[in-house]
């Protein structure tokens, strides 16, 4: 497809369950970002990949959060032992440049995670 694709669109997890969220960036985009957006707030940075290298994971809230992009294209955000405070929309974005400098980021529709 032409845009950033995320799956699933919606995920309901029981507390303590592990989840995996997938992001297919725009083909050829070097940079890939994950953001977390709580209801009524702006997106908060989680992590950044340049090709397969995870260059910044300063936004990951705990060691229960793990992201990978092994072949420099598709990325997976994994959350282990989910907790209610993990409920949010998880957004993936990609850009053709390196990092966020001077290039626009294209966002996917997001995955809405609800932990019950």
């Amino acid at each position: 497809g032409a845009g950033v694709s995320q799956s699933p669109r919606y995920k309901v997890a029981k507390r303590g369950q592990d989840v995996a969220l997938r992001c297919d960036p725009i083909s050829g985009h070097v940079s890939l970002f994950w953001y977390q957006q709580a209801l009524g707030q702006g997106p908060e940075f989680l992590t950044y990949f340049q090709n397969e290298a995870q260059l910044d994971k300063s936004g990951l809230p705990s060691d229960r959060f793990f992201a990978e992009r092994p072949e420099g294209s598709v990325s997976t955000l994994k959350i282990q032992r989910t907790q209610q405070e993990d409920s949010a929309v998880y957004l993936c974005a990609s850009s053709s440049g390196q990092g966020a400098r001077y290039t626009e980021a294209f966002f996917g529709q997001g995955t809405r995670l609800t932990v019950v």
Binding site: G42, G99, E104, G108
Partner: protein, 110 residues
């Protein structure tokens, strides 16, 4: 923590009117971007303004940047019902990430 803060938090206007929203930020930036988000289309990039630019136009959008005041404004002229959305400013401090504000929720009434 959020670098940018939008003002107002919510805005309700009639179709055809102009809408203005402001963004203030705390530290020096390389660029500032505005995004729109609605339930149908997710986050969409609107405009990017570099730190050495003062004003930029794109269609019905006008963005200003005042680095001395650490603030930016987004003006939407001749608003349409389709402009109903949340608008976010995002700052790029250096390298890897955009830092978003809390957003302005705009309602354009037909």
């Amino acid at each position: 923590s959020q670098q940018g803060e939008e003002d107002p938090q919510a805005l309700s206007i009639q179709e055809g009117e102009n809408a203005t929203m402001n963004c203030s930020y705390k530290t020096s930036i390389n660029n500032l971007q505005w995004y729109r988000q609605n339930s149908g289309r997710g986050l969409v990039h609107l405009i990017l303004i570099r730190s050495n630019e003062r004003e930029k136009h794109s269609g019905r959008l006008r963005v200003t940047l005042d680095t001395s005041k650490k603030s930016s404004s987004l003006l939407i002229t001749a608003s349409r019902a389709a402009d109903t959305a949340s608008y976010f400013c995002a700052t790029e401090l250096g390298g890897n990430k955009l830092t978003f504000g809390g957003g302005t929720r705009v309602l354009v009434k037909p």
